[in-house]
Symmetry: D4
Subunit: 170 residues, 8 copies
């Protein structure tokens, strides 16, 4: 794990959501490692992985899990690196089970919880990059470019919609 | 841990609820051990404890935890003993956070979830005793007595309420 | 009912979920009986069935029901055998109706509630087997094998995903 | 049970809510019987009671229960008399557990569900009386008087509040 | 309105659910009238209709409505006939909006609320018939037949499922 | 009703919340009338009141109601004046029943829903005043003053808290 | 912005819902402008737009946004014009996230919240027109026509459904 | 703002919760500034403050707000510094309104959401310190000490509870 961001998912069925995170990291030029490790199905391997983080080059950890989502909490209990988590919708409870399991950590062990699903996956990447940018000028610069592009996209859509509608109604 | 039931709570603030469980075990004549161990604040000690269960005399584990309640899930991931859990209400979400964190375990790692709060604490004790009773005639007998007493209590209340009301209205 | 596990479903429309339970019992080599009996539509036959459990060879009961899911609660009120229940999603309320009807049993009559849907159905089977394993060495051994296989499956997936991603990003 | 309305509560702790029902029946001059019987703690006595209703003088049944509230559903499965139910708030889930357990009956076995708590208890009495009034002129008349009084009470309050406020602001 | 049951729906888009009610009434040989009237879009016509019920041959009213479902409540405020209501799922809130709008009537004005959707529609018909059966022997008899048939259907399914599974596993 | 704002509450128990609305109207110098009228307990008087609004001097209507809160919806169905509503918390469901009953109006009959409780009561008054201000310069001016004062209050609190904390930590 | 109604959406993906609003404004002959501006992605442009409203010809603002829907709240904090908002369902939480983010404004800054989705979009248009109608006779007249047509549509459906059903059952 | 952590609360009524955050920062020896600024009541001052962050010495921002909690989202839209948020319970919705308003940010603008209430306030401080510790050895060391102390506290409680209970039951 020589990359600064460690991405961990509880099941490979989370991959469609995780991919939005990885693509955002790629687009911002930040390296990452990827693991499939389950807090419940591979508890010993998972524990060893989590314990190793403080001695590794990893600076930020991003966890993805659904249902009784203990993954990020267990990570956060075994490292002092910032842990970001994305609750995954799975099954019938709209992801509220994953959200509460991730968010409601006891005092002393924080998990930085993102929105449910793909928006959260993108934002986990951006938050990780915002943290790295505090001590890396190049990343800081790319972050600004990324945000400017996002703004420009909305403004371009605004121009188009005004062309469509406002001649008529406005 | 020579007792057949191991009771684990995530925080000593859970004790008022846990006590209902211990008293029920006492009244049914079943021995137990008690631990305060947090999946999040004492992750290494907790992991060691959970790993030791399969080699111990413990036959049933009962876990109590609130909020992002990972305690029972981590126990269940590290032992094949039946794990019973009681979600504890704590904070503003009515215990729904603890309930979902406890209940929604992924396929492969069951946690026998009880009702929220004291009713769940009593029932965790009774379920543990029902399991032990499968191979212990004495416990089986005491379980029947316990249930008969519960029924008699309701029937006695029925007699009283009928004396109060039915002369009037019935 | 000479089998140690009795599986009861409230409607044959629950069969797609129930099947995950039966297949897990099959794979662990544990025999079971199956019933379709409704607490609401066949109340007398259901009552007789539940009353007969304490005198039968059944050691663990597993109930499946949706909506106002009274099935497991009525079973638990008439037997001292451990009763495990799986809430079934049906209709518009995401299965929360079945969950609350199953979980929130009053003190004195426990129902071991599993996760909603298929994960819960698999876990009901495993919990039943964990209980039987307390007094059956053969079952205990098969349970360990089952869990090792589950762990190996995740680790194999981890190897594959690392081959896919980490050369690139890590 | 010679009275036309049978009131059943699952626990004598429901009495503060039940009393609002009984007082409304008293004020409308309708006789009733009262029982404390639990579907879970006195299942055999409860079953016998429910089975006896079709052969009795009871015309309407009113059930009160909290948590996993199976009481009214079991009654409705064993009688063709109209069954009215009032979910009782108890514990941490705001009574939503009792509401869903009562309301979400499967097709074929109706339970007429009222609002949670005391408003529901009063309305259970009035609905029972509306049903009896269909074939009893005296009750029909008293029902109209009851409603007129309710309307007059609100109109009197309106007169007072207008005297207080409208001289000032209106 | 010479029929004893008046069925009112707030929108003709409710018809797929309403049909389950009408078919049940047909199968039990009970006559009914049908209206599409909206408490919100045809308030004056709706008010006149509701006011006319007490002077009509209608004995029971069944209302269907979704969203902010005021239909049954307004009916119940203008007649002393028993009013039964079925909340309709519509839009994004799973029908909980319709359920709460229907159920949570203030003290004095009861609405007999049924389960959401088609199960509720069938049960509204059966509850109406249970009320009519109190003073009509023929209807009472048909109601018993209907219930026996329901029980026999489940028992037949039980026989089939036991033939399928129990030779194998039991 | 010569005042431009008509305030209607479903019960005089709503008065503690309503008062926050009236005081805000007073402070902004806008006249109002006040009524206690229940859509369910005084349906005929309420209907007549609502029908009269279009011919009156009332320009904006503000309704307060709890539980199955039909008050604002019935008002909105009988007038084309803008109707603002404040859901009142009452009973066990946190006011979500009143919120959904008020908010989820069908297409064609809008109700401008405010936040639950006192914040909503204040805001109902301000929204009514914002509407009146569109054609009244004096009111428009007072509205600006009111907002400036609100901003100044927060800035004053900011100065105080900075004096308290920032010398220490900042 | 010379049109009296300003419609703002947070994303062009909201357009299918927004269209129901625009069509209603068209059908009532009221002019409008349309913007795509995001409180989060174009914060500076959005702030400038909101600040400009008080000096413009805009009389009513309608905002559309999903998820953490801050759009209408930010608008309302920067203008004294009435702000109407429609929460958009997006993602897994049924739109409850957008609803609470829109509705629960603090005291002092009202947002007139409409129902979720298309019904809310239509109603936002009608409420805007109701406000404009207070000082415009022509709009007032068209509003009455619109409502009459809505009533006639329901009554026509009632005639048809009675032709279908009542000959049979009634 | 020369301190590395900027703490912003939407109202001084949030202070009891905020204090838990400030005390944790104090105990970890990290300096902070404190502001009371409301996204809704002081929108212009708030906007200026948020815009100034990228040019300041602030490295991490922590926001506190209740109800329609837009504070952290607006901050995050105007700075690339990591923004941490604590939803505050206020009013009747258990803080779920604040939680959803804070958490469900659109893709592109992350907010690191903490648990509701005081546990979240403590964890916001710790997460901020975890971020600062990535480039500050002294802070990193104090963080480890803080965590060790937390673990020791639980283990001490475990010793005491075992002394109390296990002699008796174990």
């Amino acid at each position: 794990m020589s990359a600064p961001v460690a991405v961990v998912m509880g099941s490979d069925s989370d991959l469609p959501v995780v991919r939005s995170c990885l693509e955002t990291l790629d687009s911002l030029g930040v390296r990452y490692s990827v693991q499939v490790l389950s807090a419940h199905r591979t508890p010993k391997e998972f524990h060893r992985f989590a314990e190793s983080l403080d001695e590794s080059a990893v600076k930020v950890v991003i966890g993805f899990a659904g249902r009784a989502a203990h993954l990020a909490g267990v990570l956060a209990s075994l490292t002092v690196r910032p842990v970001i988590a994305v609750p995954i919708e799975s099954g019938t409870l709209q992801g509220v089970d994953a959200l509460y399991s991730t968010l409601q950590m006891p005092s002393g062990v924080p998990v930085a919880t993102m929105a449910l699903g793909k928006a959260g996956a993108v934002n986990a990447a951006i938050l990780a990059v915002q943290i790295l940018a505090l001590s890396d000028e190049g990343i800081h610069h790319r972050l600004f470019e990324h945000r400017r592009k996002m703004t420009d996209d909305v403004l371009e859509k605004n121009r188009r919609i005004q062309a469509d509608f406002n001649s008529r109604g406005g």
